[in-house]
């Protein structure tokens, strides 16, 4: 294995890791404010990818407009699921919330399956994204370069919102103590909705990037990606946005490296995230950033 090959795999890992990171942020933020594993998050990503597909293939929108449509649509869907399905259960036992989340997840998968069929649809990748750049033998497409850059940009925005705005302060306070937040005159439900909107919007971007890289969309695509992104959130330290990004990159790189250098284990590619998840739970349940659940998050 030479240096060039290694660098090539690093580029791929960076791209894959960025996508996991974008989706993991949604898991981690919702977990922070509601202590809920939002099983539907992966499927909201799927809806985002489908919206992007419809925007381009059916409405004929340019790529950026289709992404905008997908982000807005997914954010609204995320907020709607909170309003309809999670908000009435705020005081219910935790298990009711989890079961409802599974129900929403299964509903989204199957309604898309019934409406649009289970066969993967080719995603209309814009031509300039498939353009190949060759830097002294290092070959990558514009898309695989764009994914990490956009991810870093979005991450900066998210961190700015979390740490520099009043809403961000409210989100962090909510993760810290719900009752005090209510006493301070902050509408907790509005903040939770905001978190769902932000997380779902990021997931939509992640979903579209996924659809660009593996150019197809299908109703069940969110299941496995969502699970791995959740594993990424736990590996990085659930509740922490930075941790979700680190976890996403770790899982992305692991997958790429294993497939590239141990091809005989390629069939187990999808299992590595869980092995990592179990190891983290065994040896460091708080994840890499080591966030203590009884103390502050984010």
């Amino acid at each position: 294995m030479n240096f060039l090959e290694f660098m090539q795999q690093m580029v791929n890992g960076f791209s894959l890791g960025s996508m996991y990171a974008l989706i993991a942020i949604g898991y981690t933020m919702v977990y922070g404010v509601l202590r809920l594993i939002n099983f539907a998050h992966g499927d909201i990503m799927m809806v985002g990818a489908f919206l992007g597909y419809f925007g381009m293939a059916v409405l004929g929108l340019p790529f950026v407009a289709a992404v905008f449509l997908a982000v807005v649509g997914s954010s609204l869907l995320g907020m709607l699921t909170d309003k309809v399905a999670y908000k009435p259960l705020r005081d219910a036992p935790k298990i009711s919330l989890l079961i409802t989340a599974i129900g929403i997840s299964f509903f989204l998968e199957n309604i898309f399956n019934v409406l649009f069929g289970g066969t993967p649809r080719p995603f209309p990748v814009p031509e300039y994204m498939e353009h190949i750049i060759n830097i002294s033998g290092l070959i990558f497409s514009v898309a695989s370069l764009m994914v990490p850059i956009v991810t870093l940009l979005l991450l900066t925005i998210i961190l700015w919102v979390l740490y520099k705005t009043k809403y961000g302060m409210a989100i962090r306070a909510l993760a810290f103590d719900v009752n005090t937040v209510n006493l301070m005159g902050i509408d907790a439900n509005r903040i939770i909705m905001l978190v769902f909107g932000m997380g779902s919007g990021l997931a939509a971007v992640g979903g579209i990037f996924w659809a660009v890289n593996y150019p197809s969309v299908e109703p069940m695509m969110g299941v496995l990606i969502g699970l791995k992104a959740f594993a990424a959130a736990v590996v990085g330290g659930i509740g922490s946005v930075g941790g979700a990004v680190i976890g996403g990159f770790i899982i992305g790189f692991t997958e790429v490296v294993v497939v590239a250098f141990l091809p005989e284990y390629g069939g187990y590619k999808d299992a590595f995230a869980f092995v990592l998840l179990i190891l983290v739970l065994l040896f460091k349940p708080t994840g890499i950033l080591g966030i203590n659940f009884d103390k502050s998050r984010f």
């Binding site: 202590r35 594993i37 099983f39 399905a85 009435p88 259960l89 219910a92 036992p93 935790k94 298990i95 009711s96 989890l98 079961i99 409802t100 599974i102 129900g103 929403i104 299964f106 509903f107 199957n110 309604i111 399956n113 019934v114 289970g118 299941v223 496995l224 699970l227 959740f230 594993a231 736990v234 069939g267 187990y268 999808d270 299992a271 995230a273 869980f274 998840l277 179990i278 190891l279 739970l281 065994l282 349940p285 659940f293």
Partner: protein, 342 residues
């Protein structure tokens, strides 16, 4: 020594006796299709009451059944098929010699299926129950996927995606129904024992349970392993009923069906799980029309495979939002006869 049988024990004996009579009557009088549905109901009863033990009684949200049922089914199938049959049907890779050597009769096969599932559950318990939080759900969900990946990628043991065929059809209503009765009886005994009370304590208030000296790790592990044992046995019965199994049989839909069963019946109620099974498995047969083309007189809708699953998920969401207690709540059959008490 004189044995005194209390009134409620008489009632239990009467219920068991009538169930046994029904099994005999059904297998001698009913047609094949009905018997098949009854077999399904019996197997799903075993799975539902055991799933309810970890989810409803202990309150630990888990999504494990499809994984353990798959394990049980594969173990049983490999033990029941003889060496020639295995050699004949392994098309992708020739089986390992030790796979050819696996052989047991039906009872032992079911026992090994349960034990193996249970041991795997024990291994999973260490990472997930040492930490608090809902990691069990995500780990068990991933576990189901891993089992599928393993089954597809190890054709020397499982014949890959082709699955195992021509499994001897040992399961009949006596086996499935008999084991279902045993499972319900066993689970009810656990729920009413001191272990069962500890499980409910963990569900209702984990801190209080710890303060009262309950070893929550042990109790959760016990509930999880018991569930896994019965799910392995149920998987074995299923394999010997269907006579052919493949990795695609044990998708998440399997778990989802069981989740609806125990939610509809009432999380935490074993009787509810039995009622839920009859409703959902019977109802799923009846709802087959949803997947087919429908004629509304004015217009005809095309065939929509998967419509049933949409309806299933809507039922689950609606029950959770508007009737969280399900049919039985946390009560059992006998509680219905106690008036004025809750």
């Amino acid at each position: 020594m004189n044995i005194v049988i209390r009134k409620d024990q008489w009632i239990n004996l009467a219920i068991i006796a009538s169930a046994l009579w029904f099994i005999w009557f059904a297998s001698t009088h009913f047609d094949e299709y009905t018997v098949r549905i009854l077999n399904n109901i019996a197997i799903f009863t075993i799975l539902a009451v055991s799933y309810n033990l970890i989810n409803g009684v202990t309150g630990q949200f888990s999504l494990e059944p499809n994984g353990f049922v798959a394990i049980g089914a594969y173990v049983t199938a490999l033990l029941l098929l003889d060496a020639d049959a295995k050699d004949y049907q392994f098309d992708i890779e020739s089986p390992y010699p030790w796979v050819l050597g696996l052989q047991a009769n039906f009872v032992w096969a079911l026992f090994f299926a349960g034990t193996f599932s249970s041991l795997l559950a024990l291994t999973l318990s260490f990472p997930v129950f040492r930490v608090r939080g809902d990691y069990l759900a995500i780990v068990t969900l991933g576990f189901g996927f891993i089992i599928r990946i393993l089954a597809i990628n190890n054709p020397e043991i499982t014949n890959g995606s082709l699955g195992l065929n021509d499994i001897p059809e040992f399961s009949n209503l006596y086996w499935t129904g008999g084991i279902a009765i045993l499972a319900v009886w066993g689970i009810l005994n656990i729920v009413n024992s001191k272990y069962g009370r500890a499980m409910k304590a963990v569900r209702d208030d984990e801190d209080a349970a710890i303060a009262m000296g309950v070893n929550t790790f042990k109790i959760k592990t016990f509930a999880f392993c018991t569930s896994a044992f019965l799910e392995g046995v149920g998987g074995g019965l299923l394999a010997a009923l269907l006579t052919s199994i493949s990795p695609d049989l044990f998708t998440f839909f399997f778990t989802f069906q069981l989740l609806i069963i125990i939610v509809l019946g009432g999380l935490g109620s074993t009787t509810g799980a039995v009622i839920g099974t009859v409703l959902v498995i019977g109802g799923a047969e009846w709802m087959r029309f949803l997947d087919e083309p429908m004629n509304f007189g004015l217009f005809v809708t095309p065939a929509m495979p998967g419509m049933r699953m949409v309806v299933f998920s809507l039922i689950l969401i609606f029950v959770m939002l508007f009737a969280r207690e399900g049919i039985m709540g946390k009560r059992e059959l006998k509680d219905l006869f106690k008036k004025g008490k809750k």
